[in-house]
């Protein structure tokens, strides 16, 4: 045996021994159970609305929000001259719980920052979603280097001062094909071992939903597919118990459009039921949902039309298998007076620890609209519920 031959064999042995010894099995994640919220049914019904995105940019879109550990609400969105323009940035501001006043709008993430941190040229920024993870805030957001949203990748930045400053931007690697075509829209979930389950979706050759499992450092450990083909994106993920979750998804199907998609996992996170079309309409639009007193009692904010986003409505489902009821309409364009296409979109519904609600959505692309309503207002809506859906 020549020296080269022996040397190569030794290199192979060393390399594979190292690799096999460093392998760690991926733990099946267990969701942190949804908390019971404090209910204050005796307070007066309150429903307040305001435009909160300021006038720094001509267009805004895709708001998301978190409740900080001190009870304040931090909201994020992206804005620029228009969707996808080169001046898009991520903006944020805070609603002070005690004074009920908003801080100034901050530009917290620019494409230059992301370019310098990720060592990649970034052309535009897009959808943010955030997570309170212990005493830190994790902010995920989309960026594009080449092409449209199909060329998206996901980035992560962490703040340890409630969002005043942000750490270096980290690129998530979630696809083998130039790492493109993965986006986020809806809230991640925490698991009991500190992993994070991030609902994501693809928009390139396929339009489908999947879950990324991240470790506590934000590395992608695993991924599980909810759907495939060109049917369903923007999963809204809700935990039912420690091992089961349900997902509502935007319908992008050409063969079966117009209804909201639903799926649930059967045992592990890699085993989801086939897409089920609900009775709720869906005009190829994002939805938002939260759980109320039980994991199966749901509020869902959506566009109540199979083809147009000309309203923002809320439906209620008292339990698993029960029918949905329309309980409120936040926006409604008068028929025949539509000034622009799809004026209301991308709702994000947040339930705070005091049991009240903050809804954010894109208003004619010009504003992010904030609607606050408390439990008493919800009870009012439920008592005067509209038709079954």
């Amino acid at each position: 045996m020549t020296a080269i031959r022996l040397g190569v064999l030794l290199v192979i042995a060393a390399g594979f021994t190292l690799a096999l010894s460093s392998l760690h099995a991926i733990q099946e994640p267990a969701f942190v159970s949804p908390e019971n919220r404090t209910s204050r049914p005796n307070s007066e019904p309150v429903l307040e609305e305001a435009f909160i995105s300021g006038d720094l940019t001509r267009e805004v879109h895709s708001a998301t929000a978190i409740e900080l550990n001190n009870g304040d609400i931090r909201v994020f969105w992206y804005g620029g001259k228009r969707e996808g323009s080169k001046d898009t940035s991520i903006y944020s501001r805070v609603l002070n719980k005690d004074s009920n006043s908003w801080s100034a709008v901050d530009e917290i993430m620019t494409r230059r920052t992301v370019t310098l941190d990720t060592h990649r040229y970034i052309r535009k920024l897009g959808n943010p979603v955030a997570l309170v993870n212990g005493d830190k805030i994790w902010l995920f957001f989309v960026s594009v280097s080449v092409g449209g949203w199909a060329g998206s990748s996901i980035n992560l930045s962490v703040s340890d001062d409630n969002g005043t400053t942000w750490g270096p931007v980290k690129r998530l690697i979630s696809s083998p094909f130039m790492n493109i075509s993965t986006l986020v829209k809806n809230a991640p979930l925490l698991t009991d071992n500190g992993d994070v389950i991030l609902p994501a979706y693809h928009e390139f050759l396929g339009k489908f939903s999947e879950l990324l499992q991240l470790d506590s450092a934000g590395n992608v450990l695993n991924k599980n597919r909810i759907s495939h083909g060109r049917e369903a994106i923007q999963p809204t993920l809700l935990p039912v118990d420690s091992t089961h979750a349900i997902a509502f998804m935007r319908n992008t199907s050409a063969r079966q459009p117009g209804k909201l998609w639903f799926s649930r996992n059967q045992d592990k996170l890699d085993n989801w039921t086939p897409l089920e079309a609900l009775t709720l309409p869906n005009p190829d639009a994002a939805v938002a949902a939260v759980q109320l007193n039980t994991a199966d009692e749901l509020l869902l904010v959506f566009n109540n039309h199979p083809s147009e986003r000309d309203d923002i409505s809320m439906a209620y489902r008292p339990g698993n298998g029960a029918t949905w009821q329309l309980i409120h309409q936040f926006e409604k364009t008068i028929s025949g007076a539509v000034e622009e296409h799809n004026p209301y979109s991308y709702p994000y519904l947040l339930q705070t620890h005091d049991g009240n609600f903050h809804l954010f959505y894109t208003w004619k692309r010009k504003h992010i609209k904030h609607v606050y309503f408390n439990r008493a207002a919800l009870l009012d809506m439920l008592s005067s519920a509209g038709p079954e859906l």
Partner: protein, 198 residues
């Protein structure tokens, strides 16, 4: 750590550009000094700022990170083509190309959502994939395809040390630019032949 070192990442992007230049440009018509000048020029162009950012930022934003297998091959390609080092034979390149094409066919369509099955997820902490690669590497060693054996071993080692941003083994083995380079070596068979020493 390649992902944490801008210099190493930039050099990896420079290697990718040099591999493209080696295959697409008739550099073997130039004397050795001319080739050296081209290699240095391309490297500087990639490493130095273009407009606001280094040139490799733009390359990386288009192609993503190069796999470790690809980087080993690019080094061998450049040394063999421009400096007449005999690092691989035509048969070895043919096998490498078939492996890359087959892997790409089994990986990319499924990862992009053609079916519910996602072969990319096999790359996360999967002992079976590592075992299969060990068998392939030993086969390459047996038939004396040492470059291929070293390239796969380097990828597996880099994976265990998490030298790229990804924790998925596929990202250490294959990337779309590598696939494109392999297709180009097929279209330009002169690349398979060792260039005469100048």
């Amino acid at each position: 750590m390649i992902s944490a070192s801008p210099l190493l990442t930039g050099l990896a992007m420079a290697l990718l550009c040099l591999a493209f230049a080696t295959i697409l440009l008739p550099l073997n018509r130039l004397p050795l000094v001319g080739r050296m000048l081209v290699i240095v020029s391309i490297t500087l162009l990639v490493m130095l700022p273009v407009s606001d950012y280094p040139g490799w930022y733009y390359v990386r934003s288009v192609f993503g990170d190069s796999s470790v297998t690809a980087l080993v091959f690019y080094i061998a390609l450049i040394l063999q083509q421009h400096f007449s080092w005999q690092l691989y034979q035509e048969n070895e390149l043919v096998l490498l190309r078939r492996l890359v094409l087959t892997t790409a066919l089994l990986l990319y369509p499924f990862a992009l959502g053609v079916t519910h099955y996602d072969s990319y997820s096999l790359g996360y902490a999967n002992p079976w994939l590592l075992g299969g690669l060990l068998m392939l590497t030993l086969f390459c060693w047996l038939v004396k395809y040492y470059l291929l054996a070293i390239a796969i071993t380097a990828a597996v080692t880099a994976y265990s040390l998490q030298l790229l941003e990804s924790l998925n083994l596929w990202d250490y083995l294959i990337d779309p630019a590598f696939l494109l380079i392999m297709i180009l070596t097929w279209l330009r068979p002169s690349v398979q032949k060792i260039q005469p020493r100048q």
